[in-house]
Symmetry: C2
Subunit: 225 residues, 2 copies
């Protein structure tokens, strides 16, 4: 259990019942007893605590803005990033297939595991402990977020950023369309002069896919997110 | 303020700061100071408290089932129904346009107002008060919900129900399609022999729209929901 002790130091939370932490680290590929129920609970607590924190921090922000700010905190990429800081990948219980295919570094598995740990902290220590844990984990993210940072849609923001640095505007190319006519799925590529990286976005409309590709490009170029 | 006193009796919660309750009752059509931020907060608390209650009540239910059970509690129709029991429509502050068009009995306005009241109770009394309020408001709904009641999809459940009572199977008719090709919106009608009522469902695919129409028909026929 020295492993879990090290992890608990990193989490800055010591479990009364370490079986809860072990369960939170157990991916469904490992067995029927896994972290999916904890993830459900942790997701709910995370969403509420972040909502409450944003409500208090941004008294002038309208509901739509609060929703967008929250989405930024609870999105898979933010959770996975925090999970990597905590080195959760080193502690995961994964089935052999997932281990071989690199599941310990997959965004979705890491994000789900962090949500499950939030649920486990709540089960172990109650609401106050769960709330404190969430606020501590996302303190940096929350303090950097502001309505200003989100006021523009990703395509506008990217275009403005490129203009400022005297670059050509980004180009969007439709890479793939799939699905039935009434439920299509679009994959779009965002290409930027002077960078060899390309950025992809997916969505149920071409516009959504472009926005996501633009967001990916913006985050890459600015190191934001 | 006698009005708000009567309402608070119905809510079984007395506000220390009744301005919070007043704000929760104020629709955006009434003015810039309205209940939308409270609704954001209350929605988060409602989702978490219901998740927690379902997690505890159904220890064998998988995450997907818990999600579906929660959706049933927090859906607009359930919230609006509870808002009508509380007669929230009588207390709403609405702009004149909304008043004339019957906004005081609109599902979305009623549901949003109940969420705003949940947020207001939390702001007034803290987490324990908010949690207690949610559990009391949705006690009946929660106690009637079970994985069994949701195991089947709405179309299957309706068909089975009609078979048991020796009725012909339901028929689905596409009423309307709108939107651009990649983002269509479908309206479907479910017609059942022997009843003069018809039931509509809408969705981003024909199948979704049919499932919703079937669900509406099932709930009408069984008095469930």
């Amino acid at each position: 259990m020295s492993d879990l002790n090290a992890l608990q130091s990193g989490l800055n939370y010591r479990f009364s019942d370490s079986a809860l932490l072990r369960m939170a680290l157990t991916h469904r590929s490992y067995g029927a007893e896994n972290n999916e129920r904890f993830e459900f609970l942790g997701d709910g607590l995370l969403n509420f605590v972040v909502a409450d924190a944003l409500f208090a921090a941004h008294p002038a922000a309208a509901e739509g803005m609060l929703s967008r700010l929250r989405a930024r905190v609870v999105q898979k990429q933010t959770l996975a990033q925090q999970a990597r800081r905590l080195r959760l990948g080193d502690y995961l219980f994964l089935g052999s297939g997932e281990l071989k295919s690199g599941g310990q570094d997959r965004d979705s598995i890491l994000a789900d595991c962090l949500e499950a740990i939030i649920g486990a902290v709540y089960l172990d220590g109650g609401f106050a402990a769960g709330r404190h844990f969430v606020l501590e984990q996302f303190n940096d993210t929350l303090s950097k977020l502001s309505p200003d940072s989100l006021l523009k849609d990703p395509k506008s923001r990217l275009q403005e950023f490129l203009q400022k640095s005297a670059n050509a505007p980004p180009q969007y190319r439709l890479v793939r369309t799939s699905g039935e006519p009434h439920q299509q799925h679009f994959v779009v590529q965002c290409v930027i002069d002077g960078t060899t990286s390309t950025f992809h976005g997916e969505g149920s409309s071409k516009r959504n896919a472009e926005q996501r590709a633009a967001d990916a490009a913006y985050q890459h170029l600015t190191g934001d997110g």
